[in-house]
C-alpha cells in the first residue's frame, strides 16, 4: 500500500471511530442514563479502547453491542471510565497550602461544610480529615464526599487501603506538613490498613453526578481536583456554574495542580489564594 493510501485509510478509520464513539455514548445515555457525551474526547477515546482491548473486542461498534445487552459489563465500563487512581496526600504541597491559607479562613465559621466532588475511593477526603484534625478544626466540620460511582463509594466508606500503600502515603504525609506520625491514623491488619473511625466520623459519602445532578447545599470549601480535566469546555463551564452556585461568598474552591479558572467565565469572580496550588477564593 502506498503512503498516500495508508494516510487515506487511516483518516477514514478515524472518522468511522468518531461516529462509533458518538453512537456508543448516545446509546449508553439512553439505555442507562449515564451521560458521558460531553467528556473530553481525547481521554475518553483512550479509556474506551483500553476497555475494548481488555475485553478482546475489535471495534467500538462491537463493544456497543455488548454494553447495551450486558448490564454487568456496563458496570465495569463505568468503573473504567470514571475511576481515578489517587493517593492520600497526592500533591503534598497542596495540603501544606490548605493548612497555611485555607484553614485560617475556615476557622472564622462556627460550622464548616466542605464538598469533595469526585471523591473516588476517598483518599482526598481522608487526607483533608487528617489536616483538619491536626488543625483542631475537624469537630466543627462536615465533609460531603461525592462520586457518581457506587462501587468506589463503597470502597471509600470502608476506608481500608492496602498496607503496601502506606509507605507512599506516609512520605506524602510528612511532605504535607504532618504533625504526628501517619501510623496514628490507621490500624494494620493482615495486609490492610484500616483508617481510624475518628477520621470517618464527619465524612458523609454520597452518590452525586456532577453532569446530571444539581446543587445540594452551600459550602465553605469545595475540592474538585483533577475532575474537570475529563470534561469538555462546555460541560466544564456547566459544572463550574453548579460549583459557583454551591459556594458561599468568600468561600474557597480548590482545583488540580494543572487546572485554572482561566478560560472560563469565572476568571474574574475569584481571586487567587495560592497560585501554585490552585486555590481560589470567591469574591463576587
Amino acid at each position: 500500500m502506498s503512503q498516500n493510501d495508508l494516510i487515506k485509510e487511516t483518516n477514514e478509520s478515524d472518522q468511522i471511530e468518531e461516529i462509533e464513539i458518538e453512537l456508543l455514548l448516545e446509546g449508553i445515555f439512553r439505555r442507562y442514563g449515564y451521560d458521558f457525551r460531553s467528556y473530553a474526547s481525547a481521554s475518553i477515546r483512550r479509556r474506551i479502547w483500553n476497555f475494548a482491548n481488555l475485553h478482546k473486542v475489535q471495534t467500538i461498534s462491537a463493544l456497543q453491542e455488548r454494553l447495551l445487552h450486558e448490564p454487568a459489563v456496563m458496570d465495569q465500563f463505568v468503573l473504567s471510565l470514571t475511576v481515578n487512581v489517587t493517593a492520600m496526600f497526592r500533591d503534598p504541597l497542596f495540603y501544606k497550602a490548605v493548612r497555611a491559607k485555607v484553614v485560617p479562613l475556615l476557622k472564622t465559621y462556627p460550622f464548616v461544610r466542605i464538598w469533595d466532588a469526585g471523591c473516588s475511593s476517598g483518599e482526598e477526603a481522608y487526607s483533608l480529615a487528617v489536616v483538619l484534625t491536626e488543625e483542631g478544626l475537624y469537630d466543627r466540620c462536615r465533609i460531603y464526599a461525592t462520586d457518581m460511582n457506587d462501587a468506589v463509594l463503597r470502597k471509600a466508606k470502608a476506608g481500608i487501603f492496602p498496607l503496601s500503600k502506606m509507605k507512599e502515603f506516609t512520605d506524602n504525609y510528612i511532605q504535607a506538613g504532618g504533625m504526628t506520625s501517619f501510623s496514628d491514623y490507621y490500624t494494620a491488619k493482615y495486609d490492610h490498613a484500616i483508617l481510624q473511625n475518628s477520621l470517618k466520623r464527619n465524612i458523609v459519602f454520597a452518590q452525586h453526578n456532577l453532569v446530571t445532578d444539581t446543587s445540594f447545599n452551600e459550602f465553605h470549601l469545595i475540592l474538585i481536583r483533577n475532575v474537570l480535566i475529563y470534561f469538555n469546555d462546555e460541560l466544564r463551564q456547566k459544572v463550574l456554574d453548579l460549583l459557583h452556585g454551591s459556594l458561599v461568598k468568600f468561600g474557597v474552591i480548590a482545583l488540580g495542580r494543572k487546572e485554572s479558572l482561566k478560560f472560563s467565565s469565572y476568571d474574574h469572580a475569584y481571586e487567587e489564594l495560592d497560585v501554585r496550588e490552585k486555590l481560589y477564593r470567591r469574591t463576587a
Partner: protein, 200 residues
C-alpha cells in the same frame, strides 16, 4: 506545506539535547512547540526545568495546563505526573495510569496530536532509553505528518530513536545539531494558521 505544531519527545539525555534544539530554531518562527520530556514528580523542583529551557528559546516557555489554548510563539512543557493530550486547539490533561511506566507518555501525547493535526504536525523523537514515542511517531506518519528522529549515534541514549526509526517508514533521521536547521528550512514553517481549522 504549513506545519501548525511541533511535538518533541525525549527521555534520558533530553535536558542536554533540548537546549541545543530550541536555541537553533530561528527567531522568526511562531509555530508552537510541545515538549514531552519524561520526568519525575517534581515536588521541590517545580519551575526549574521551565526556567532552564526558557534560557535557550526566544518563545514563551510554560508548562501546559488543562484547557490552555495552544498559542503561537509558545513552547509548552508537559507537566509531571499527568498525561498530556491534544484536543483540537487546546491541551487536555489526564491522571490515567502511566503507560510503560511513563506519565507523561510520549505515545499518548503524539497519538492525540496526530488525530487533531494530521498532516500539519511534525513529530520529533530525541534521546532516551526504552521505546516510548515510537508508536506515537508512527501514528503521526500514518496521518501524513512529518516524522523526525535524532540520529541514534548522536544521542546520549540511542534506544528511543532506534525504536522510532524501526516503527516508521520514512522518518527523517538527523544529527541533533541539524534538526533545528532542518525545521527552519521547511518552506512555510513560519506560517502559523489557526491550528484546528487547518487540521482537516
Amino acid at each position: 506545506m504549513p506545519y501548525n505544531l511541533i511535538m518533541i519527545g525525549c527521555s534520558l539525555g533530553g535536558l542536554k539535547a533540548l537546549p541545543i534544539l530550541l536555541s537553533g530554531i530561528s527567531r522568526g518562527s511562531v509555530t508552537p512547540i510541545v515538549i514531552v520530556q519524561h520526568r519525575d514528580r517534581d515536588i521541590n523542583t517545580a519551575g526549574l526545568l521551565t526556567q532552564m529551557l526558557q534560557k535557550s528559546s526566544g518563545m514563551v516557555l510554560e508548562e501546559a495546563e488543562d484547557k490552555t489554548p495552544i498559542a503561537p510563539s509558545h513552547v509548552y512543557l508537559a507537566p509531571s505526573d499527568y498525561h498530556l493530550l491534544i484536543e483540537q486547539d487546546h491541551f487536555q490533561l489526564s491522571t490515567e495510569l502511566p503507560v510503560a511506566f511513563a506519565r507523561p507518555s510520549i505515545d499518548v501525547a503524539f497519538e492525540s496530536a496526530a488525530r487533531c493535526y494530521g498532516s500539519s504536525l511534525i513529530g520529533i523523537i530525541l534521546t532516551g532509553t526504552g521505546s516510548d514515542g515510537a508508536k506515537g511517531l508512527a501514528h503521526i506518519e500514518r496521518r501524513g505528518g512529518l516524522a523526525v528522529v535524532q540520529e541514534p549515534s548522536t544521542a546520549e541514549q540511542g534506544s528511543m530513536p532506534l525504536a522510532a526509526i524501526a516503527a516508521t517508514s520514512a522518518a527523517k533521521v538527523l544529527p541533533l545539531d541539524e534538526i533545528a536547521t532542518f525545521l527552519n528550512s521547511l518552506a512555510d514553517h513560519g506560517e502559523y494558521k489557526n491550528a484546528f481549522r487547518a487540521a482537516r
